[in-house]
């Protein structure tokens, strides 16, 4: 590269990384009590960082004075890889960005592509997408609850949460064949109709889940240790969160009821009756409360979607986009040609640029897709909420104890697969 574009050589990077911003603090005692600042590397292999996140923390005794997140350890170039794949083959790689929100990644990408194609998924497909996305939201929150409780010392919560998470994964396995990264959501609809008996299993799950969530709340919310670790710890005002672009449960915990499912409904979310849980203080306690309350709301959405499930196709009948039914291949030459074209080249997408935002378990997942008219996207970008929300880590924790930093990171719920992509 030319010298002009290389503004940060290796030495420049290190200087910037090691520079700290320290607000002056009032000292107790005289000069002789002055202590040295300690720079501590937390991670990248630390059990409490929820992945390979490295935090460069400047400590004054036990107090955090400055914090720099260092990411990129699991950068796999998914956005670049997607440029080399036809649209329907890009879905599995895009799905693997935020590995706890695979239905959301896939939906954001497919919906952006559908917007470019100017097609709409049939009503049944939209309801099936909603059911799977809400199951995914519960699953993601259960993983968060289990690992967060583990971080602040509650071992058994992890096993309880993963018990329910396994049941959701079983449901995914039954409907799509995979437990994670299911590739269930397709451009134009979903891969397959739900199998017989699946609805009954989901209903059994939704009947059980609120009771389980009650139990989790009883276990944690009245626990003295949890209260001390969360209540009033590391709050951040709504105005600060908005400047930092923070969305999702973190913003709602600070009292702003911003939820894309309500604000700009997509995928038939306006058909369902649900509430947006909000907090008042914006501290770790509210972040905890909002996510647990969202589990109940997701259960309500799933029940309503099952009740009102429309009949009909589960994928668009536009043969230029969706594969023809299997049985037609033996009898219809046209179906065979469509099948061949779709499987070899893929479908072509009209030129244009679309940014499609949806509400995931961590905030706004916005998928940007640019097409040049060919069958491969020219640019795929995911605005991942973990990546943006991580910037709030430093303002939240500056001036607090290092033990609270662990609790705050747990309540921030970053997923490193999504951050690094």
């Amino acid at each position: 590269m030319s010298a002009h574009t290389d503004v940060t050589g290796t030495s420049g990077y290190r200087q910037m990384e090691e520079s700290t911003t320290l607000e002056p603090v009032e000292r107790v005692g005289g000069e002789e009590l002055d202590r040295e600042l300690l720079t501590l590397n937390m991670g990248p292999h630390h059990p409490a960082t929820h992945g390979v996140l490295r935090l460069l923390v400047t400590l004054d005794g036990e107090v955090v004075r400055d914090l720099k997140p260092i990411v990129g350890y699991v950068h796999t170039g998914i956005e670049k890889t997607a440029e080399d794949k036809s649209y329907w083959k890009a879905i599995p790689v895009v799905e693997r960005m935020d590995y706890l929100a695979y239905y959301f990644n896939a939906y954001a990408f497919c919906a952006a592509t559908e917007t470019l194609l100017d097609i709409e998924a049939p009503p049944r497909a939209q309801y099936l997408r909603v059911i799977h996305m809400e199951l995914n939201r519960i699953m993601s929150h259960l993983v968060w609850l289990g690992t967060s409780a583990l971080d602040i010392g509650a071992m058994s919560m992890f096993w309880y949460c993963f018990r329910e998470r396994e049941q959701i994964n079983d449901l995914f396995e039954q409907s799509s064949g995979q437990r994670m990264h299911t590739r269930y959501i397709q451009v134009g609809g979903v891969a397959e109709d739900i199998p017989r008996g699946w609805e009954q299993k989901v209903r059994e799950f939704t009947a059980r889940m609120p009771e389980r969530a009650d139990q989790y709340r009883d276990l944690l919310a009245n626990n003295e240790i949890v209260l001390q670790r969360l209540r009033g710890v590391c709050p951040l005002a709504e105005s600060e969160l908005l400047k930092l672009g923070v969305t999702g449960p973190l913003l709602r915990a600070a009292g702003n009821p911003w939820d894309l499912r309500k604000a700009t409904p997509y995928c038939s979310y306006d058909h369902f009756d649900f509430k947006i849980p909000v907090g008042t203080e914006g501290d770790n306690w509210d972040r905890f409360g909002v996510r647990v309350a969202e589990i109940y709301e997701s259960v309500k959405i799933i029940d309503q979607a099952l009740d009102g499930m429309p009949e009909g196709r589960w994928i668009t009948d536009d043969r230029k986009v969706a594969l023809p039914p299997r049985h037609e291949l033996a009898t219809s030459m046209e179906a065979l040609i469509h099948h061949f074209k779709l499987v070899t080249e893929g479908f072509r997408v009209p030129p244009g640029e679309v940014y499609f935002p949806i509400e995931g378990p961590r905030g706004e997942y916005g998928c940007f897709v640019r097409s040049d008219g060919s069958s491969k996207p020219v640019r795929v970008h995911m605005r991942d909420p973990s990546f943006v929300n991580l910037q709030a880590m430093a303002p939240m924790t500056e001036g607090s104890y290092i033990a609270d930093l662990i609790a705050t990171l747990a309540m921030l719920d970053p997923v490193l697969g999504g951050i690094d992509r």
């Binding site: 590269m1 990129g72 917007t115 400047k243 672009g245 640019r379 943006v388």
Partner: protein
């Protein structure tokens, strides 16, 4: 989401403030985009903020290869009260990829501008901490550019050290 008329009205208001700022408007699939002159980006976003688009939801880069000017930066502005969205786009040439940073106004742009710098080599002037974020600090080249080969990534095993990273250039 501003309709075609609303988008033109918005562009007209911005043109009244600075006649050169808005180069073009695009209305595509029900969503509006403003194409702005790169030098006026920070002032334009500040004017949009005054009109209610006060949340910057996403900053991302695009490589328009083989068209010129090649590198694009997109800003997704959101008005939470309306609710309404508008995209602001700019394009800079490869030999002078300099854009004024909006991080002083929107701290959320910090990581995202670093990512655009890391992946496309767009330099954000006035960014407090412009360095690579996802790629290693000593990495050469900008991997999301369209002329950067897929599979051109040297695997850093000890045995390859002597060969270096020259073939990715």
């Amino acid at each position: 989401m501003p309709d075609a008329v609303g988008l033109e009205l918005l562009a007209q208001e911005l043109r009244e403030a600075d006649g050169e700022s808005i180069l073009d408007t695009v209305h595509f699939r029900g969503k509006g985009a403003l194409i702005v002159k790169p030098a006026t980006i920070r002032a334009t976003l500040q004017r949009l903020r005054a009109k209610g688009f006060d949340a910057l939801m996403s900053v991302h880069g695009v490589d328009y290869y083989p068209q010129e000017p090649r590198l694009g930066v997109h800003y997704e502005m959101l008005d939470m009260a309306a609710p309404d969205r508008v995209t602001v786009k700019l394009r800079v040439p490869l030999d002078d990829p300099v854009v004024e940073s909006v991080t002083p106004d929107w701290p959320t742009a910090d990581f995202q501008e670093r990512e655009v710098y890391d992946m496309f080599g767009v330099i954000f002037e006035g960014h407090p901490d412009l360095r690579r974020i996802l790629m290693p600090e000593d990495y050469e080249g900008f991997p999301q550019r369209r002329d950067f080969p897929i599979g051109g990534e040297p695997v850093l095993f000890t045995i390859d050290e002597a060969e270096g990273t020259a073939y990715t250039q």
